[in-house]
């Protein structure tokens, strides 16, 4: 899976939680989940669980801590997929 494909898949996962739909529509790697997309912090865990399910990976606490923006999320998923 290339980075573009991965970003699209992540964008789809994030969609139901993004209060700012316009920012979601224009999502880039620099997009911040809370500051830009106005995602409720309680839903960050749903994004982590969705990523685990959709990509069949395990996200530990140390990775979850950093998962506040698109770029970091992609990097974590890439690392997990490469380790499979």
């Amino acid at each position: 899976m290339d980075r573009k494909e991965l970003t699209e898949k992540l964008k789809e996962i994030i969609k139901p939680y993004a209060a700012n739909t316009e920012a979601h529509e224009n999502l880039t790697e620099e997009t911040d989940f809370i500051k830009d997309l106005n995602i409720n912090s309680a839903n960050l865990v749903d994004i982590v669980l969705d990523i685990e399910e959709k990509f069949d990976v395990v996200i530990d606490n140390a990775d979850m801590e950093r998962m506040l923006d698109v770029k970091t999320a992609i990097e974590i998923i890439e690392t997990k997929l490469a380790a499979k």
């Binding site: 500051k35 409720n40 912090s41 309680a42 839903n43 960050l44 865990v45 749903d46 982590v48 669980l49 685990e52 606490n61 979850m64 801590e65 950093r66 998962m67 506040l68």
Partner: protein
């Protein structure tokens, strides 16, 4: 320092499925999971502990400027609990925060301070004359042009702005 967090229970029912498989384990420590399990209304305990963590995190973020999603690093303990009130402590690394929560059928509101005595000096104010620094941390501009610490939380139908007396 001061932090606060509110959960609108009607909104959380629409937004979050707290009973989702694996969710509790990602957010709560083993002891907190036990609090949730043994409480007669687990939903209330989930959001009580969550608002305590969020309120404490706001202070941690002010102190360290660190942004992270680390709910299990914020470890809650309950010192007293009734149907309408809770007093607790949240530990985060070497930091200790003290919390006071108000529970109703509509919402759960927790405030946190890093000094136990200051917990009694917290008041709610109107949302006006708020400015933010470059870390996004809010302050209340007073009539004498000094800055007071303030914490803002909104969720669903509710918004709370708290500061010191």
């Amino acid at each position: 320092m001061i932090g606060n967090d509110i959960v609108d229970l009607a909104q959380s029912r629409l937004q979050s499925k707290w009973s989702r498989k694996g969710l509790i384990e990602k957010l709560f420590t083993t002891e907190e999971q036990y609090f949730i399990k043994k409480h007669y209304n687990p939903e209330i305990m989930v959001w009580l502990l969550w608002t305590m963590k969020e309120a404490a995190y706001k202070i941690y973020n002010r102190q360290t400027k660190i942004r992270e999603f680390s709910p299990k690093k914020l470890i809650c303990d309950l010192n007293s609990l009734s149907d309408i009130h809770a007093f607790g402590t949240v530990f985060c690394l070497e930091n200790i925060y003290y919390t006071k929560s108000i529970i109703s059928s509509e919402n759960i509101h927790s405030i946190a301070t890093n000094n136990l005595e200051n917990l009694n000096h917290v008041i709610e104010v109107e949302k006006k004359d708020i400015i933010k620094d470059n870390h996004g941390i809010p302050y209340l501009q007073t009539s004498t042009m000094t800055l007071k610490e303030v914490s803002i939380s909104n969720h669903g139908r509710f918004e709370k702005v708290v500061t010191y007396k």
